[in-house]
């Protein structure tokens, strides 16, 4: 009797513990640290467009008017991009931030993996009244605001590597984005082809996060700021 009671208690403990672990695992697997999805807008068959921005703070974009928990952290406007499989994505990034020198200038000042190996960059003048447009395969690595660097994870979708440097914004005028005020952005447009369904990671490769981790702390070490995913489905 005593034995069967002890056995029953042990069994119940194991089942309860296992259940609690399974529940915690399910909750963790279901949770996503990312923001709401930004869908690539279809234009013609096999083509779609995505437009995002990079800001010097978090006062515009997905963090809301107050900038969320860290209003002074640099951020991309969206960190959860979604595009169809086997589609040409034409992406425009409005770059509102200032810049500096890249860590690995020779590599990250180049445009990698885009259609034609180029990006089209429209740079405003200081007053923000006019733009100069050029199609380039490389930029000045000492004056870059951020990079958009997208890569596939082996075994998860088609191998892909796209990296585009976003030059620093030279404008000094004032434009309003939501409730925030910046200067006219540098507009960088490029296109790339998605492959098979999968989740691809992207992040900025300019050391813009601050703190002691090689300037890759703070905004660079938290979801929702300078990194995100591209879900291809």
């Amino acid at each position: 009797m005593e034995r069967s009671k002890a056995f029953g208690t042990a069994l119940a403990s194991i089942l309860l513990g296992g259940g609690a672990l399974a529940l915690a695992g399910y909750a963790l697997a279901s949770a996503t640290p990312h923001q709401g999805a930004l869908m690539c807008q279809a234009t013609t068959t096999g083509n779609c467009t995505l437009t995002i921005s990079s800001f010097p703070d978090s006062l515009a974009g997905e963090h809301g008017k107050s900038g969320g928990a860290h209003p002074d952290w640099v951020s991309y406007s969206n960190d959860n991009l979604v595009a169809p499989a086997n589609t040409t994505v034409t992406m425009t990034i409005n770059q509102y931030d200032s810049g500096g020198a890249l860590n690995n200038k020779a590599f990250f000042s180049r445009v990698w993996g885009t259609n034609g190996g180029t990006a089209t960059i429209s740079t405003p003048n200081a007053a923000g009244t006019s733009y100069t447009t050029a199609t380039v395969s490389k930029v000045d690595g000492t004056n870059v605001g951020h990079t958009f660097t997208l890569r596939g994870i082996p075994g998860n979708g088609t191998p892909i590597f796209v990296s585009v440097p976003l030059p620093a914004d030279p404008a000094t005028n004032s434009v309003t984005v939501g409730d925030a005020t910046y200067s006219s952005p540098v507009k960088v447009t490029f296109s790339f082809k998605t492959g098979t369904p999968g989740v691809y990671e992207w992040n900025c490769e300019f050391p813009c996060g601050g703190s002691r981790e090689g300037q890759f702390g703070y905004a660079m070490s938290a979801y929702g700021y300078m990194s995100g995913t591209l879900t291809v489905k």
């Binding site: 690995n104 994870i153 082996p154 990296s163 490769e205 981790e213 300037q215 070490s221």
Partner: protein, 245 residues
């Protein structure tokens, strides 16, 4: 009567030791090549061989521990609340047994030490007369590869089969770990320091390159692919990348 039973028990323990040793040796011979990543270099061949030799050499020792444990659990367990009676016969101060154990342990340990130092010397030896130098740069959260003598840079690694590759590894921000499991190559990438390690690819095919030092938010995604190709394919790839640059 008790003495005879004790001897029978010891025979059983010896038989268990022999059986477990055979199982351990079999696992040692069968396991490493099948459970470890596919070997694609001379370093990985040596690593797998070292695992085989060490596992086989350790099998009798592990089997001995398990055999004594099982023997004790089976025959030296006292059931009941009363104090157990003293054992009928105990083996104490057996010089032959002690000397055998000490000599066997010493021989085994010295053998493993010599093998380990030899394997380390092979890994750390010269890269040969005409190695292909590849500069490896780790940074959050990407590996980049440059081929000195050309203007080629790449986010993926392409290597020719049969030619020794001398990796010159560094990091730009924090410490990373450069690991090609299929080639038995793993070394830290440190800021401000260039570390060299070499290997000779011996099999065609793809492999993954991972970071083994936790380096921040996207550490888990600091993975890229590599490819071992024929010498002709490598030269062709190098030429095409050189034109792009």
């Amino acid at each position: 009567m008790a003495e005879m039973k004790n001897k029978e028990n010891l025979k059983g323990m010896f038989a268990t030791w022999v059986i477990l040793t055979v199982v351990g040796v079999a696992i040692g011979i069968w396991g490493p090549a099948r459970l470890m990543p596919r070997s694609m270099s001379d370093n990985m061949h040596l690593t797998i061989l070292t695992m085989v030799v060490f596992t086989v050499a350790a099998a009798p020792v592990a089997a001995g521990v398990y055999a004594v444990t099982l023997h004790a659990l089976r025959h030296w367990v006292h059931k009941g609340d009363n104090v157990p009676a003293p054992a009928a016969e105990q083996t104490r101060e057996n010089a032959t047994l002690t000397a055998s154990w000490l000599i066997a342990s010493t021989v085994l340990t010295v053998f493993l030490l010599i093998w380990g130092l030899g394997a380390l010397a092979v890994d750390n030896g010269s890269a040969g007369r005409n190695p292909l130098v590849v500069d490896v740069t780790g940074q959050q959260w990407l590996w980049t590869f440059s081929y000195p003598g050309s203007n080629v840079q790449s986010p993926t690694l392409v290597l020719p089969e049969g030619r020794t590759v001398d990796f010159h590894i560094t990091a730009l921000d924090v410490t990373h770990g450069f690991w090609i499991a299929n080639m038995g190559v793993q070394v830290d990438a440190n800021v401000g320091t260039t570390t060299q390690i070499h290997t000779t690819p011996t099999a065609l095919g793809q492999f993954d390159i991972r970071c083994t030092q936790f380096c921040g938010l996207n550490h888990a995604f600091m993975v890229t692919t590599g490819d071992v190709v024929t010498k002709a394919q490598f030269n062709s790839w190098l030429a095409s990348q050189s034109q792009k640059a």
